[in-house]
Symmetry: C2
Subunit: 173 residues, 2 copies
Amino acid sequence: MDPAVVGRRVRALREEQGISLSTLARLAGVGKATLSGLEHGTRNPTLETLWAVTAQLGVPFTALLAEPSAEPVVHGTAVTATLLEVFTDTDATYELYRMRVAPGVAQLSPAHAPGVTEHVTVFAGVLRAGPADAPLTAPAGGHLRWVSDVPHSYAAVGDEEVAASLLLRYPRR
Amino acid sequence: MDPAVVGRRVRALREEQGISLSTLARLAGVGKATLSGLEHGTRNPTLETLWAVTAQLGVPFTALLAEPSAEPVVHGTAVTATLLEVFTDTDATYELYRMRVAPGVAQLSPAHAPGVTEHVTVFAGVLRAGPADAPLTAPAGGHLRWVSDVPHSYAAVGDEEVAASLLLRYPRR
DNA sequence: CCCGACTGTTCCGTTTACGGAACGGAAGCG
DNA sequence: CGCTTCCGTTCCGTAAACGGAACAGTCGGG
């Protein structure tokens, strides 16, 4: 973790809200020098300082840190997915994603390792996904499941963006 | 944010791994005095210090912070659920939970509003859940769906704790 | 019993993050 | 053009977080 990364994010968040460094420092109860140094990455801020600043920005603290869950981890032509949680168990490892599929284009993903399965629950829109040679279709509220050790595709049916949760199951080898 | 909370969590994580304060301090490259004060909440740790310790513990940093959404929002006799995300759409509102069901006891939930459906994807263990008079069963990797406008139950089959993702769909009235 | 190896806490000198004040620069207004 | 009022950065004395060493307490072995 680079303190400069945190600093850039604080500055970005502050400017997003259209608030000046001086006023943010005053509202958060920290010195302007502290905030300036923090944003430049020239200081090594204290937990108390970070807390005061993030609280004033209305950000849940994790937004400052290079958190995997807020950044898209998969970003293809049609699919954008963000990792919500990883769960490891005696038999398998699970990755839970929040997924969005843009309309109009289809996306093809290469095969995963043998035994890997995918489970999708559709929030909104209509999703057509699964093995590339035999995709399945699910409307909002529906659920799809397939073994993803073959190339598989994702596509939105119609012109509405699809929102869904995607669970990837990696069996323990 | 209370520094004492962070301290307690670090201590808990360290003891979970069966590692001593001295060795963790050495591995993380921080002084024992620093780590001791951090765990007691008598210090106001630096970002650099927190980073070194969490990296050595293999924890994604956010695990230290009492993030509101990381706290269980449902906590019954058998079920503990934490809200991961809320998604509002033109037709319905969705709530995505991470759920754990303790073995040995069953939990009965009252009926939701008409039209509300629940979707469960089981990560680990075997789950028996659904309408109280006709529950369904799913093993790890399985998926359940039912209309939850009647009383419904959750129970772990066997003596293994169940981990699952729960999607609640509230149709727009 | 004594000793060595370990635990976690406390002491202490050095380093540094802190906030207040002073600073140069950029607008807005008479 | 002055004058005011912001902006963000830099200077600086103080408070405190830092790591190393010394400390008491607890095991386990000879």
